[in-house]
Subunit: 319 residues, 2 copies
């Protein structure tokens, strides 16, 4: 059966997970969360994650400088570690290079990798170079998290409030501006996304029940709901969208709310916490955008006085 | 400048290494050895490595079953850890899948990954799925090694004997048989290479000065020599080549010694040790094939009463 007829990335991950026998007793969380969580020391867990970006799938050299490509490859991994409340220690880089690649391209990509890794005091410890048909940067990150701060995606509680960091839709608006050769403030949001590393650590210290990083829009809340066997209600008018994103969406003839819900790569955090954390979370800049409900309720959007099903986000993997 | 004009993989790795500022004080060995070596516990180091195989570059689905592809992707990483005397604990898998891929292909690849990971009691802890133009399997392995057993590639001593495990040239002979649609015992050596994990551990317990795994033939001894600032003399008539490899080389009209020196992917170990380890190393099946010399001597092959320069091995990365 062709993958395109199979049902997307999540279904395939579940299938793989169900067939794997190779397990280790030191694995607290394995396949299916943002990071693997492993035994490490008496006070910390080790976090391991990997993320890849491929040319013309996740970036285009028509818009991105090589440095921005390298930064993005690392930020995507930092974002996974941020969603666990951890800190990255090491990056391993696999670079797949087409035949016509230049030394300057490699220099630029590594400049970006080095920039983002240095910013969080992590080391680039090794990697691999391969010939390929397509420019791909695959990064594996290793980090740690204090045991008491670890947060997974599967423990949202009925009655929790739903929060997010920053604002949404900027990266998707920026991508569309670039594609149409237009200008606007959102462009930088697409070319230089920044993972919410420090904010992730602050959030987990306050105490939350579940968290993920948003790679495919606010609709990514479904990953928390699915893993936690829960539903959710999101209030459209609470979703933070910046004035620049609204302006750029208007120029594009796009609905800014659609971009925020289903656009990609904002690398903001989405999390759930009990009501008594509300004031502390507001103080560090988090936005309350909804509530966790029971599974049967489903995942709904409240907009213009009506509730509707929140659709699935964009599946990068869908063929 | 195009990569093809730059001078191969090693030169590019050196260039990258020289430009990277992102370092960590917990890194004992970073870019440039088979594995990164990191602080871990009072008695052990952590080892991290990554290796990738790409369709039509490192394997062909015309010959390989999907299971064999998965096995090979993991064995290449196990081999890096074997060369440090360590044991693998965890594997992280990034799978890049072209548009026409089937669920059965993914099942088969993961069956092989699971088989090789299970064999060494390691866990598959996570990964990533991406669309791409080319089937690529990129694996990152994390392992440990007792501090007292760690061996690097950079400490060969003038006067050391040079050893290798197993025999060489089988995989290269097998590949050529497959390409020409011929039969022979070497074919399995190419399709199902096995890393020398247990032997690597035995060797480091005996005590050696430098070790690598051979991915590009016995000429890979140059990596030990370059890192150790040493030369070497290899005796052609001591190089172990199996009767099957000799027979298949003859049927192919190829020189078996050439295949052993410059053919690829035998995943045997090459190492150097002081003379007083000779008897112990022979007992576990290692072959003494030469001597370490001073840097100025160069890297020579003694054959038919004459010495000649040992050429470089095959550079998979050369464009």
């Amino acid at each position: 059966m062709k993958l395109r007829d199979y049902g997307g990335e999540l279904a395939l991950i579940e299938r793989i997970k169900s067939k794997i026998a190779a397990n280790s007793k030191d694995v607290k969380v394995g396949i299916g969360d943002d990071c693997a969580v492993l035994s490490y020391s008496s006070s910390e867990y080790m976090l391991v994650t990997t993320d890849s970006i491929a040319e013309n799938e996740h970036f285009s050299l028509d818009y991105f400088s090589p440095k921005q490509v390298g930064m993005k490859a690392v930020e995507a991994n930092i974002s996974d570690i941020a969603a666990k409340g951890g800190k990255p220690l090491y990056f391993i880089v696999s670079l797949f290079l087409p035949e016509n690649s230049t030394v300057e391209l490699v220099d630029g990509i590594y400049e970006g990798i080095d920039f983002s890794a240095s910013k969080c005091n992590a080391g680039i410890i090794g990697g691999n170079l391969s010939k390929s048909n397509q420019l791909i940067i695959s990064v594996c990150a290793i980090g740690t998290v204090d045991k008491k701060n670890l947060v997974l995606r599967n423990a949202a509680k009925n009655g929790d409030l739903v929060f997010c960091t920053g604002d949404f839709g900027g990266s998707a608006a920026g991508l569309e501006l670039l594609r149409r050769n237009m200008k606007g403030n959102s462009i930088k949001r697409h070319l230089e996304p920044k993972a919410r590393l420090e904010l992730g650590q602050k959030i987990t210290k306050i105490g939350v029940n579940a968290m993920i990083d948003a790679s495919d829009g606010l609709a990514d809340i479904r990953h928390i709901c699915n893993a936690s066997n829960a539903g959710a209600l999101i209030y459209a008018d609470k979703i933070p969208i910046s004035p620049s994103t609204k302006e750029d969406a208007k120029a594009l003839g796009k609905d800014a709310l659609e971009l925020a819900l289903y656009g990609g790569e904002d690398y903001e955090l989405i999390f759930t916490a009990p009501k008594n954390s509300l004031e502390k979370l507001k103080k560090i800049g988090a936005n309350a955008i909804g509530k966790i409900k029971g599974r049967k309720y489903g995942i709904k959007l409240f907009k213009d006085g009506k509730q509707a099903d929140l659709m699935n986000g964009f599946d990068h993997f869908k063929f």
